[in-house]
Symmetry: C2
Subunit: 194 residues, 2 copies
């Protein structure tokens, strides 16, 4: 769990000891509560259970979505890091499809993550890190297969990411796995070379 504060610390002066302690407890507690109660969990409950006031929570995580994003950041990172391996061991299109399915499954599994993603992908602000990570993973998959197949050259990873975000929003619900699959097929046909 030490990877997380590393991110933040790289940009600002180190947090005061008590602040760091609170941030850790908040992430820990938020993860537990989100796992237990899903996206319905209230920010106030998380703060109380972590033993801090809501003010403290909001100073560190400016919105509920950003807290959710922080909680799942490492898992997103793992998802992204799996892309190169997929690209290396599967035919390009299969690698892409497999990764996309994992992406959607992840969004569907982590309750509330789809909305967090919408914020991350939509905001113009500094939330670039996760967005960049995802775009990079997709770019890797798009350009793998070198001079032979993979994707059309004019497809931008950013756009594919946005499309996947849209699919999550529409199909990350309970019984929507099949819809997600069909939408991914649609997207793939637009992405791969004819």
């Amino acid at each position: 769990m030490t990877g997380i504060e590393g991110d933040a610390a790289r940009h600002r002066r180190p947090l005061r000891a008590d602040a760091q302690r609170n941030e850790d407890r908040l992430l820990e507690t938020a993860a537990a509560v989100l796992a237990r109660e899903g996206a319905g969990a209230s920010v106030k409950d998380i703060a109380r259970e972590a033993g801090v006031g809501v003010g403290t929570l909001y100073r560190r995580f400016p919105s509920k979505e950003l807290l959710v994003e922080a909680v799942y950041r490492q898992e997103v990172r793992r998802l992204c890091e799996a892309a190169p391996h997929l690209a290396a061991t599967l035919p390009p299109v299969d690698a892409l499809r497999t990764w996309m399915e994992r992406f959607i499954d992840f969004m569907a599994a982590k309750s509330g993550m789809a909305d967090a993603l919408r914020v991350v992908l939509t905001d113009d602000g500094e939330r670039l890190q996760t967005r960049a990570l995802l775009a990079e993973a997709i770019d890797h998959l798009l350009s793998s297969g070198e001079g032979e197949s993979a994707a059309r050259p004019d497809v931008a990873a950013q756009d594919v990411l946005m499309a996947l975000g849209g699919i999550s929003l529409m199909a990350a619900g309970e019984n929507r796995r099949d819809l997600a699959t069909r939408l991914i097929d649609l997207l793939l046909r637009g992405v791969v070379r004819s």
Copy 2:
């Protein structure tokens, strides 16, 4: 404006006179307030300005999104009714692209409509009417051009609608027209015959 209550009345016994009057005033006021203040407008303000309590508003429109949907229902209908004309006067793919662009422009213009659409497309409930209308319009565009070109036979209008909904959610913001265009291109390549 008399087309709206016609919809509802077709299904339930006629409303009591005062109830009908309130519903009309609510729709009227909501349209005005939404136009003036955008999606940020509060339900309470709309109720107050219409001269009714929030309870009355909620009895008729069970959520803010459904109120928004009702306000714009006729315009959605007009959008859908334009599809046959497009299909008749343009090459199939152009007709489809043009209609999709209008759809996204509409969602971007009517503040809050994208979220309303998410509810309408996502809920399993009775909100079928608008959904069915949209799906029908898309179906028309997909199957036009008869035995010659248009869309792949295995693409379902419902799925295209969901994809468009996703695009709205991601690209209906302020300066996102170009993103929307690119995502529509992507979608179209997945939809039309190779």
